[in-house]
Subunit: 148 residues, 2 copies
């Protein structure tokens, strides 16, 4: 796997140019938002290091970097829930990418839901916030992730 | 402004409970994805500290924390391009929030576009990646942001 990104130039060059010059943070990561290409829903927010970003661009499948496991991973490598990238976009200062994906299987979330964002946060309410569940489980994570 | 979030319990409690127990990173931040409530497009990815999150929940308007300026800011405070939050969701491990917003004004991006994600990254191509512009400017940032 070979990859190289452009050096970061001026703000003008980064924002208005055509060179891919990602701004990796102190841990070497950019933020990635994955949305469902069909519904538009946000499925997950994760991180990519340079290699994950390069592999995603080269293969058209989503690769991430796990901060907790300190490891590169291909989405779906244990669950089979691969993400095919339909479109990738990068933001103005190039520290975040947005991928629209076709999500294989019943969902993206390790808890067994289609999206990681299955709870709403009520707004403008007095007192302690109580989350509300908006989405049902769509698969049994014990069966899907229990294989490894 | 007073606010308090729940203590983080077990993974089970964080993922399957109703308590809002955000996982702020070493810099005290969670990631926030703002999408357009009408189109579903990702408008921007930014960060919230505890106060920005609390203010957003309490007011129903988007507040963020700028890492570069090290300051709390209300989206639109200089541009007028306020974001009214239609719905807020939080993810499984509670380190990212998704807000669906009604974006006031002509756009969310300081470069003058509706979304910060105005360039696509071509996939599965040999050689150096050249970004492609997908969105036109919708306002003159010099006029909108030049007032302060």
């Amino acid at each position: 796997m070979t990859y190289s990104f452009s050096e970061r130039g001026s703000a003008q060059a980064v924002e208005e140019g055509r060179a891919l010059a990602p701004k990796f943070d102190a841990d070497g990561l950019v933020t990635c938002v994955a949305t469902d290409a069909a519904s538009g829903d946000v499925l997950m927010v994760a991180h990519m290091n340079a290699e994950a970003l390069a592999r995603t661009i080269e293969t058209g499948k989503a690769w991430y970097y796990s901060r907790s496991r300190r490891a590169l991973w291909r989405k779906g490598e244990s669950s089979g829930h691969v993400q095919r990238v339909v479109e990738m976009r990068i933001d103005c200062d190039q520290d975040a990418v947005w991928i629209k994906v076709e999500q294989a299987g019943a969902g993206a979330c390790h808890t067994g839901r289609r999206s990681c964002f299955y709870r709403t946060v009520p707004l403008k309410q007095a007192g302690a916030v109580k989350l509300e569940f908006a989405d049902e489980k769509t698969f049994d994570p014990g069966k899907v992730y229990g294989k490894s």
